[in-house]
C-alpha cells in the first residue's frame, strides 16, 4: 500500500512535528498516514490533502502539544518574569527610577495636555448624523467663504449633492420686543440648513421653520432674554441691523441702526447642547433677503460670482458619491464660471471641499470663529516633542550609564540561555513599566496644568474645555506605552549586545569608550534648556518693553466709549456737564489696537508716487486730549471751518518731501481715488498708531475731521476717582440711550491688553524652559549620583593618600562642568541666531544682547552646578574608612 506515489502535504507534516509530543510522533504520524492513504483510495488527492490538514490541526490539543514548545509559543511565564524582574529593578534603584519617572511624567503631562486639546477640538461637529457626508466648500485662496450662487449651482447643475445650503452672515444688531433688547448675530439660512445639519429645534418645526420671509430661528438664550419663560413660537421682534462684528470679532465695526422690520420666531435652538464651529444667535430665513434687497438695506449678491467674502457653502454628498466626484464637479463649475482670464482675483480660483470633521482643527482664512490655527498646534506639538525627547534622553542616558552595573546580570542571563530577544524584551518591559508609572504621576500633573492652561488669556477666544473622558485615558495609556518603548529601545539593544564572556569576566572595564553618546545627549539637553531659557527671557523682556512703551501719546485716564449709534455731539454735550470730565474727543478707530484705515496722498500736480498714510477720522480735541505735540501750524480745525483740512504727522511730512514742518503748513495735497484737494493745517509729532507687534515700519498718519465716521468718544477724566467718573458717565449715557448699556474701556488697559497674547507666550515658553531645565538637571543628578557611587573606592583611596576635599570635588565635577560649558558655547550662539530670525522682523523690539545671554547662562550654570555639587561634595566629604573597609 505504501507504494502509492502520493504523500501527505509536507507543510502539514512539518507543522505536526513542530508541536507534537515526541513520544506520540510515531503512532500519530502512522495513524494520519493510514488515514491519508484510505482517503486517497476513496476520494481525490485534493480532498485527501485537505483532510490531512484537518487532522493535523485537530491534533493541536493540550494533551498532544509538546510542553517546551508550549512555553515558546505562549511566552506567558517569561513575560511575567520580565515584568517581575523589571519591577524589582525599578524598586531596587529607587533614586534612578524616581528621576526617570519624574522626568518622563513632567514631559508626558505636556504631551497629554495637547492630546486633550486635540480631543476637545475633535468633539466639535461630531453630533451631525450625516456628518461624514457634509463638506464645506472653500476657495483655493484659503478663504472659508464662497460666492453666494455656488450652493444653488452645485445643487441644480450636478448630481453629486443630495443637498446644499448657504449661510450668509448678515443680521447683527438689536432685536426689540416690548422694550426688551437683545443683541443678536447670525446668518441668513435656507430651510435646507436643517436637512444637512442635525441641530434640533427645542420648539418649532424644522421642516417649516425657515420657509417664510421674515421668520427666524433664535437661540434658547435669546428667547429667554426677549420673552422670558413665555413660549417664543409665533412671537415677534423688531430687528435693527447695526453691522456688528460677526462671525469674527474683527468683522466690521458697526454702523447706525437700520430697521429691517418685524420677524416672527418659528423655532428655538439650544446652542449650549452643541459643540459646533457654527455659532449663532439667530438664523433668519433666506427668503427675507429679496425684500431687504429691494429696500436697499442689504446688497444684492445673488449672482455675484466675484464676491466671495462672506457666504459659507455646505454640501451634503449623495451616499454613493465620493469626494473625488465632488471635486470634479467643482472644478468643472469653476472653469465654466471663471472664464475671464484677465480678472486677477478669479482667474485661477478653484473650489476645494473641506470635510466637516476637519473644519474645527484646520482653520481657514476667514473662518467662522476664533480657534487655534493648525500652526498653533504644530508649535505646541514641537515644544512638547522637544521636551518629551529630552525626557527620553534621560532614560536612555541613565540606563546606558548603569550598563556597568547590569553587565553581570546580562552575562548570567545569556550564559543560562537567554537570547538577545529576551534581553531586549526584559529592558523594554522595564522602560514600559517606568513610563506607565510616570503616566500615573503625569495625570496628577495634568490636573494642575490644565486649569493653568485654561486661564491663559488666549483661551478667552479659543474656549478649550479639556474634559477628561475615558477614551482620552485609553489614548494616554497607549501614549505611555509608546513612550516607554521609545525611551527603552536604545538601552535595550545596546545592553543586549554584550558579549557574555567579556561582561562576566571583567565587568568594570569591558564597556568603556561609550561615554560619547551619553555626553552628547546631555549636552543636547542643556543646549535645548539654554535655548528655551534665553527665549523665555527675551520674550519677557519684549513683553515688558511693550508694556512700558511710549506710544507718543498719553493714554492714562482716557475712557473710550463705544458710541453704538448715538450722536456724538449730543453725548459730548451731556458728558461735558460732568465736572470730572476734562476733555472729550471722537475717533472712528482706537489707535494702536489693531485696526487701521489707509489714505494715500501726494503733492498735487507732481508725478511722485502716492505715499501711504494711516487715516484717523477725529475732531479738533483729539491731539490735545492725547497730549500730542503740534510742531507747526494749527490743530485740526472744527468741522464747521471746512471738511478739507488735515493734519499730518512728522513722518508723513518727510515722506511728502517737505523740509521743515513750517513749509508744509497751508500746502495742499491730493488724495488718491477721490482726488480731493486737502489743506495741511498743521503738523504733529509722530506717535505709534499700529500694533506694537508689527513687522512694518511706523506709518505716516493723517488726521481728518469726518463726524459721520465717529465710532468712539475718548473721554478724559480727572485721575482722582476714575470709577466714580465712569459711574457719572453711565448715568448720563442712560439719558441718551436707555436701551443699550454703556460700553467703555480704559485706554491704557486697552493698550495693555493688546500685549496679553505676548504674555501668554512668555508663560508658555517660561513653563517649557522650566521643564527643559528641570528634566536636564534631573538627568545630570542621576549621572552625578551614579558616577560618584561608582568611584567611592577611588575617592576613598585618594583621600587616604592625602587628597583634599576640594580637589576631589573638582575631580568629580570636571566632566560635568565641561559638558555644561560645551552646552553654553553651542547654546548661546544658537539661541542668538534662531531668536534673531523672528526678532529682526519686529520694528519695535528689544535686542538679544549680552544681558539675555548672561541671564540664561547664569540660570543654567547655577542650577547645573548646584545639581553636580550636591553629589560631588557629599562624596568628597565622605569618610574614606567607610568606603574602604568593606570589600
Amino acid at each position: 500500500m505504501r507504494k502509492s506515489k502520493h504523500n501527505p502535504p509536507r507543510p502539514a507534516q512539518k507543522l505536526l512535528t513542530l508541536f507534537l509530543r515526541r513520544d506520540l510522533a510515531e503512532e500519530v504520524t502512522g495513524d494520519l498516514e493510514e488515514r491519508f492513504d484510505k482517503m486517497m483510495l476513496k476520494t481525490s488527492l485534493l480532498r485527501a490533502r485537505f483532510d490531512y490538514w484537518r487532522q493535523v490541526l485537530n491534533y493541536i490539543r493540550p494533551f498532544a502539544i509538546r510542553k517546551g514548545r508550549l512555553q515558546k509559543i505562549m511566552h506567558y511565564g517569561m513575560v511575567r518574569s520580565y515584568f517581575k524582574i523589571g519591577w524589582r529593578n525599578i524598586v531596587k534603584y529607587k533614586a534612578f527610577s524616581a528621576i526617570n519617572v519624574f522626568g518622563l511624567a513632567l514631559a508626558m503631562s505636556v504631551c497629554m495636555l495637547i492630546i486633550l486639546m486635540v480631543a476637545d477640538q475633535r468633539r466639535y461637529d461630531a453630533f451631525h448624523a450625516k456628518g461624514d457626508r457634509i463638506y464645506r466648500i472653500t476657495l483655493s485662496t484659503n478663504y472659508a467663504t464662497t460666492p453666494l450662487p455656488l450652493a444653488a449651482a452645485i445643487k441644480n447643475n450636478y448630481t453629486v449633492a443630495e443637498e446644499t445650503t448657504v449661510l450668509v452672515p448678515g443680521p447683527a444688531g438689536d432685536a426689540v420686543y416690548q422694550n426688551k433688547l437683545a443683541e443678536m448675530r447670525g446668518y441668513f439660512a435656507e430651510p435646507s440648513f436643517f436637512s444637512i445639519f442635525s441641530f434640533a429645534l427645542e420648539k418649532g418645526d424644522v421642516s417649516t421653520a425657515l420657509q417664510q420671509p421674515y421668520t427666524a430661528v433664535i437661540s434658547q438664550e435669546l428667547a429667554f432674554q426677549l420673552y422670558g419663560n413665555d413660549d417664543p413660537i409665533g412671537k415677534t421682534f423688531d430687528f435693527s441691523d447695526r453691522q456688528l462684528a460677526f462671525p469674527q470679532e474683527f468683522d466690521g465695526i458697526g454702523a447706525p441702526p437700520v430697521p429691517w422690520g418685524t420677524f416672527t420666531v418659528t423655532g428655538v435652538v439650544d446652542e449650549s447642547k452643541y459643540k459646533s464651529h457654527l455659532a449663532f444667535d439667530v438664523l433668519m430665513s433666506a427668503a427675507t433677503q429679496p425684500s431687504l434687497i429691494t429696500a436697499k438695506k442689504i446688497e444684492d449678491r445673488t449672482n455675484a460670482w466675484d464676491w466671495f467674502y462672506r457666504p459659507y457653502t455646505f454640501v451634503l454628498l449623495k451616499e454613493d458619491k465620493s469626494l473625488a466626484e465632488l471635486q470634479t464637479a467643482l472644478d468643472d463649475l469653476s472653469t465654466r464660471t471663471y472664464t475671464d482670464k484677465k480678472n486677477e482675483q478669479t482667474k485661477d480660483l478653484r473650489f476645494i471641499p473641506q470635510k466637516l470633521s476637519d473644519i474645527q482643527l484646520n482653520l481657514r482664512g476667514n473662518d467662522t470663529n476664533n480657534r487655534l490655527p493648525l500652526i498653533g498646534y504644530k508649535f505646541l506639538i514641537i515644544l512638547a516633542c522637544v521636551i518629551m525627547i529630552t525626557a527620553c534622553f534621560n532614560y536612555t542616558n541613565l540606563s546606558v550609564a548603569r550598563a556597568l552595573t547590569r553587565a553581570k546580570e546580562i552575562g548570567v542571563r545569556k550564559v543560562t540561555g537567554a537570547q538577545r530577544g529576551s534581553i531586549v524584551a526584559q529592558f523594554l518591559s522595564e522602560s514600559v513599566i517606568t513610563s506607565v508609572i510616570a503616566l500615573v504621576l503625569a495625570v496628577g500633573f495634568l490636573f494642575l496644568l490644565a486649569p493653568a492652561f485654561k486661564d491663559l488669556w488666549l483661551n478667552k477666544f479659543l474656549k478649550f474645555e479639556l474634559p477628561s473622558t475615558p477614551d482620552v485615558y485609553v489614548v494616554f495609556l497607549g501614549f505611555a506605552i509608546l513612550i516607554g518603548l521609545i525611551a527603552g529601545i536604545y538601552p535595550a539593544f545596546y545592553l543586549s549586545k554584550y558579549n557574555p564572556v567579556k561582561a562576566l569576566k571583567n565587568p568594570g572595564t569591558s564597556q568603556r569608550g561609550k561615554f560619547g553618546l551619553r555626553k552628547t545627549l546631555s549636552v543636547v539637553q542643556f543646549v535645548i534648556s539654554l535655548f528655551f531659557i534665553t527665549t523665555a527671557i527675551l520674550v519677557y523682556r519684549q513683553f515688558s518693553y511693550y508694556m512700558q512703551f511710549d506710544y507718543g501719546f498719553k493714554s492714562e485716564n482716557i475712557v473710550n466709549i463705544e458710541l453704538q449709534g448715538v450722536d456724538y455731539e449730543k453725548l459730548k454735550h451731556e458728558l461735558s456737564s460732568i465736572p470730572e470730565v476734562t476733555n472729550i474727543s471722537a475717533t472712528d478707530i482706537i489707535p494702536a489696537t489693531g485696526t487701521n484705515n489707509g489714505m494715500d496722498i501726494k503733492k498735487p500736480g507732481t508725478q511722485d508716487e502716492y505715499i501711504q498714510t494711516t487715516v484717523l477720522q477725529t475732531d479738533e480735541n483729539f491731539l490735545d486730549n492725547l497730549e500730542v505735540k503740534i510742531l507747526a501750524g494749527k490743530n485740526l480745525p472744527p468741522r464747521e471751518q471746512g471738511a478739507n483740512f488735515i493734519v499730518i504727522s512728522e513722518k508723513a511730512l518727510q515722506k511728502l518731501g517737505f523740509a521743515t514742518p513750517h513749509d508744509a503748513v497751508g500746502q495742499t495735497v491730493e488724495a488718491r481715488w477721490s482726488n480731493e484737494q486737502l489743506v495741511i493745517a498743521g503738523v504733529f509729532e509722530d506717535f505709534t498708531y499700529r500694533l506694537l507687534i508689527n513687522t512694518r515700519e511706523v506709518n505716516p498718519i493723517t488726521l481728518r475731521n469726518q463726524p459721520t465716521a465717529f465710532q468712539y468718544a475718548n473721554v478724559k477724566i480727572s485721575s482722582k476717582d476714575p470709577m466714580g467718573a465712569v459711574k457719572k458717565i453711565e448715568a448720563q449715557w442712560k439719558k441718551i440711550d436707555p436701551i443699550h448699556p454703556l460700553k467703555y474701556e480704559f485706554f491704557d488697559q486697552q493698550l495693555a491688553s493688546m500685549q496679553q497674547g505676548v504674555f501668554d507666550l512668555v508663560k508658555i515658553l517660561g513653563f517649557i524652559a522650566f521643564l527643559a531645565i528641570a528634566i536636564s538637571c534631573l538627568g545630570l543628578l542621576g549621572m552625578a549620583t551614579y558616577t560618584t557611587e561608582r568611584r567611592t573606592k577611588e575617592i576613598g583611596i585618594r583621600k587616604v593618600l592625602g587628597a583634599a576635599d576640594f580637589t576631589i570635588a573638582r575631580l568629580l565635577s570636571k566632566e560635568f562642568m565641561m559638558m555644561l560649558l560645551l552646552a553654553i558655547f553651542i547654546g548661546v550662539p544658537l539661541s542668538y541666531f534662531i531668536n534673531n530670525m523672528w526678532l529682526q522682523k519686529l520694528t519695535t523690539r528689544v535686542e538679544f544682547g549680552i544681558t539675555t545671554a548672561l541671564a540664561g547662562v547664569f540660570i543654567l550654570l547655577a542650577l547645573g552646578v548646584i545639581t553636580i555639587a550636591s553629589q560631588t561634595i557629599r562624596a568628597s566629604k565622605a569618610n574614606p574608612v567607610n568606603s574602604l573597609k568593606s570589600e
Binding site: M1, R2, E27, D31, E33, E34, R35, N58
Partner: protein
C-alpha cells in the same frame, strides 16, 4: 480528582475499543466511529479521548508491532481494563433502569420474546 463517569462520546469510544479488540488503535477507532455513527470525527479528538480514558484507568495501551503498512510505524493498541468494563456495565445498567422507568418504553423492552 479524576472524573470517573463516562460521557456519551467516551462511552462510545470505550465500546468501540472493546469491539475492535486487537485492532483498537486511534485511526481504526475513529474510522469505526464514523461508519457506525455516521458522524465525522478527527483522529485527534479520538486520540485525545483515548488518552483521557487511559488516564482514568478504563484503558491500557501498548505499542504494537511494526507492520509494512503506514511506513513501518508502530501502532498504539488500546485494551479495555476490568475497571473500564465495570464502568460500561454500570453505565448500561443505569441506562436500562431509566429506559424501564420511562412509561412510553416500559414493558416493551422485551427484546422480541413475546408475541
Amino acid at each position: 480528582m479524576i472524573e470517573t463517569r463516562l460521557g456519551e462520546f467516551e462511552e462510545v469510544i470505550l465500546l468501540l475499543t472493546g469491539i475492535l479488540g486487537e485492532e483498537a488503535y486511534s485511526f481504526k477507532i475513529a474510522e469505526e466511529f464514523e461508519t457506525q455513527t455516521k458522524r465525522s470525527v478527527s483522529i485527534g479528538a479520538v486520540h485525545s479521548t483515548l488518552n483521557r480514558l487511559e488516564e482514568k484507568g478504563f484503558l491500557t495501551s501498548k505499542v504494537g508491532n511494526a507492520t509494512a503498512e503506514r511506513g513501518g510505524r508502530r501502532k498504539r493498541i488500546y485494551t479495555i481494563t476490568a475497571y473500564g468494563r465495570r464502568a460500561l456495565e454500570s453505565a448500561r445498567d443505569l441506562r436500562m433502569s431509566l429506559y424501564n422507568q420511562f412509561p412510553a418504553f416500559a414493558g416493551k423492552m422485551d427484546f422480541g420474546f413475546s408475541v
